[in-house]
Symmetry: D5
């Protein structure tokens, strides 16, 4: 096997910004050798959503906790209260991002922000795309020249500004 | 017709951060009553790319300039040199964005940045999604409950880190 | 009449951050001696919404433009295109605010932000109060000791985070 | 029971910015399964005020401490000195807020700040709404279309600038 | 006369941050050769308050405008509307201050801020000194060793935090 | 006794920014139930200066250490070396301040900075008020309407700019 | 031997920003008395790449881990999982850099950034030099006057902006 | 000819940060249709150095001015005094850079800064690479797979820290 | 003469931050071909002080204005009022400095700040070196190896902290 | 003996930013009762350089370590490796400095930066004063009026910009 699967782990210097269960979950994931894709299938949730659970950016349901607990072998009581609580979002990394992969996403907002706005305004009116009533996925596409492309889909409810 | 089409215009207080031709293009667009969708069809380019041309965030080809000039009635010589030059990207707005629509995109990066990274790393290896070898589109989706959704697709080439 | 009505005017050093029509509207308002309350009644809109129109933070309907134009004596064509366009919100002042009145609102967010979050989370679940599907009003209350109170009501739609 | 009551808990990565008693109070609250609403009723105080006590943003009276101690089973001596001391306010989270719920409140100040100022100035004169001689509450409203709204009331004493 | 009276003038590079009347007032003050002390006596107001009027940081009464207009020879109509409007305070200079004199005041807050807080809290309880219901003065003191001292008095109403 | 004396204590989340002896002094002060006023009298120093000693913003004399040690029951050797060393000033809190009481002092500098400068320049010439050769005090004033006022006096040596 | 070889070590105050294995590797390197040049030869990789491995800025292959482990005497299991994971890049130091050596590189970008852009654009078209598909080296050059020069080579793939 | 040579031009929104002659030089360059490579050959200087002259980041010799003047047809007197003066370097663009091409250079410093330092320190001792006694060039490399690479060489004198 | 004397001129993009007379003085200096050294001799003042006058960072005496006016041929009335007014110091450039020469001075403060403090504290006690009661000079030193050194002398009055 | 010698010590809240040996050295210095002057004499180095060694801002020679070790009684092996390594400079304190003594040095750069540049440029040409090939000293001067002056000498090699 030329290229063994490598797993996303939790950088120890980053753990302080995250809830305590993040470390337990990542440690168990590493030990079990599970990808986010595998965990997502087990939970019946999207891959990015599962990663967001691990980074403390999403709320778990009771069933999520059950399944995570049994799949990863982490005692339910060690994670249930915090994971089913209300996430304190937005603190997983600095902004502007210093991580090159995340910076590229930031750069897309920086460069195309007003273009997105203009196009959305003409298509939908005066409002915003919700980042709350929202889901997202990451897909792999390999074209005819064997080039690999990342395709990210952002899908949010359109919210028009109230007239008052 | 209950809701007349409204057009994206250029806020006068923003024009100083943009190249001089931005104002000419937006003024002509308003006068001709054209949407970015209409202009994009005429140019055979994507809607967001055309908005990016207007905001000085993308480079025009000679043919783009020809078609824009004839469609909008802007003299070619007034825009060709600058639009075919090399854009000085990234200055159309402040970061963090203060515009609510653009802020939501920024917030998605802030909240899900590390989740995107973890998922991409496991799917593609150690690298980034290019924001250069890249295209994007905005689509409207209306679901069965008549709710309107915005669907943004970000598609970039995967670039693995060199080993050296 | 002990205390003549004083009117909010547009500080000249602030005009550069706002759309061009802001100055025209404020100038006409001053000349006509109209309060935002009077204009709001004429437009059938809320007072804060009308001030937001003047500061370029809200979109006008065709009828708003008609009524403003006739009430203030500002030619419709001078304001219609921009006011009916899509506002580029969020740039009317610096953050953190330096204006004492606005700073106090900022301070309330700074001091009580997490308290609001905790209370809302327990009352509504995991989500946010929308600032888009939103309205607000300012009222005066004079209590039995003749003390004057400002009562601001913020009313936004509750948006639960999507599960995906 | 479809949706069990979930409780606001204290994110461990946030505890360092708060006084030591915050953690004790939140832990006890979780163990007792109490909402802020329940605690507020027991204390005879407003919900947001009680949350502010937990986050170290408000001063407790001797009676508050007595009641909290008996309700939560936290020894009085462990919390009395600090909770009855003078809070060092304003450090519970970063500004601009990164938490989406709190950011929306910040965005309201960013977008409507000058509109609030203009309306208040015309209604009350030259001054500010106090954030000190101040109270606030959060209410739930369900309209005829079954949509849920959050209604936040901010109520502060009007303070005119002194003439000197 | 060894040391001729020198007058505070308006730095041209600073005028853009101030209302338009600031320049007119300073120009007239220079031409008439008047100190703030002289103007303050004429207006029956405090010196710092008069300087604040010139810098657009305080609201003028109708009588202030009358007296300034006649003393300085500035047409009333050129200044009345703006000076009697509601000041947009806080933008006269950068923070942290770069001007050495102003920096020293900032440094006092930086070094003694928590000491002031501790002393006031013990003397007055949980609250703040108002910066709105507030006045201030600058006095000269020459001691027995012929050393010159500046004495600034800051006097603000004590506002206790509401209990709610 | 309607209102028991409450004491300023050291917020645990703030202790890291202060020298180690700050915590010992505050703890002993709390245990002994002493106000800064009482300690100041015992030391023959000003109240704000004593608070500054506690916050590590002022240098102690050998006599100060003796008296503090005996009054508070803190072993002299535990505090002498550091307290008689040279303070590393200015790090007790963030700037701009987030604490409302301290922010009000900052706001006074922000709003009246240039007014203070103009008045001082005309009264004293080109120079600054020293923040080093400097003392300050906080006093309580109750006026005829029973309103409580805080009076802060800042008194610094005038330092003219050298001509070279 | 006039000048003994000195080795780069890990500043203890910097270790918190880096992954846990950084400290182990640096400690072992110091104990073994190895330069990055020696380690690079052993690994068959570039010197800067090896330093980047130590600072947690590059991903190790299984073979890198084997060789590092045997060369440095660090147990493989202590470093393999993290070093073969996906680096969380960009957090090794503050930006702008405060270290003089690193600041000089930053200054080159600050001073010559637009010059590099103009020259590259004319040579290559509209695009960027990749920092991902990228390698770099540091060489020593001693000229005829015995002056020592540092020669840094940055070599990245040219990525043209997509037309879409 | 499929791809006509495109020239670097001066973005009008950037001109304010540069000396006045920048605009004249760029305008003349555009009109004459000259690349930096062509101008550099004419001046006998490096390409990046010539671009730096155009952006006001390098000092011109009398001969540079003569040659530029005759090549571009710009009157010598219009540019000589400023171009032969002492450049006020470092203000051509914001830091962190928002332009993607320049950001990639910044990212290299951010990611590899400490690695460069460690390698240089071991190779050269305790010191820095000068950014003053410094030259740089940009070269194109096309490898056997027809991939285009940018090769930037940074070459600076090694300066050891003085021992004192 | 191989190397003609070059003169410091005023960068046009910097003039907006400076008082209006700066431009007049620099223009006249250029036209007359005068160095700061020559002007300083004529005025009987230090070179740095004269440059500071030109940059609006120092106050002129009546005699300074007389001499400057006659030496440079600038009408006295064009500069007297502003130059003899009270400088608004500290705004001539950004901090941290982007100009390499000025950055090096900043870097000395960054690297040696605490060392200077420790040495001064032990030599002088608890206090500061005044930057107001202060003078400075720049000298050239050529050593036996023909190396040129810059020697800057900073000389300020020692101000001990008051005990209060 | 009226005024006993006080020694510079290491503020405990600052130690985290410094290398581990800083604390050992300062502790030993305090215990031995040694000034930097005394240590400098023992080492044959300048006072500021010795303080810089203590703060981790300068590299020690083997002989420095020997002498420090024997003078202070600190085991050589506890400090040699780190002190003879390559310092990670610039992190001893925040910039802008909050310490008043250090701020005054910063203020000198802020106020006189461009004046130093103009004078140096005219005296030396286009270049910088090195902060690397650099030494500095602090001296005491008492003038005829018994006033104490601090005299800081900054002496750096002049580095002309390369022409390339």
């Amino acid at each position: 096997m030329a290229q063994q699967q490598r797993l996303a782990t939790l950088d120890s210097s980053m753990a302080d910004r995250l809830p305590a269960y993040s470390r337990s979950l990542f440690d168990a994931k590493t030990e079990k050798g599970l990808t986010f894709e595998a965990i997502a299938q087990h939970l019946g949730r999207a891959e990015v959503a599962v990663a967001a659970l691990f980074y403390g950016q999403a709320q778990a349901s009771a069933e999520d906790v059950d399944r995570l607990s049994s799949l990863l072998g982490v005692p339910k009581e060690a994670i249930a209260a915090q994971m089913m609580g209300f996430p304190d979002r937005g603190r997983s990394g600095p902004m502007p991002p210093v991580e090159p992969l995340i910076y590229r996403l930031y750069e897309i907002v920086q460069n195309y922000g007003y273009s997105f706005k203009a196009v959305m305004n003409e298509k939908f009116g005066d409002g915003i795309m919700s980042a709350i009533c929202f889901d997202t996925k990451v897909e792999k596409e390999v074209d005819e020249t064997d080039t690999t492309w990342v395709v990210i889909t952002l899908r949010g409810k359109w919210l028009p500004f109230s007239r008052f």
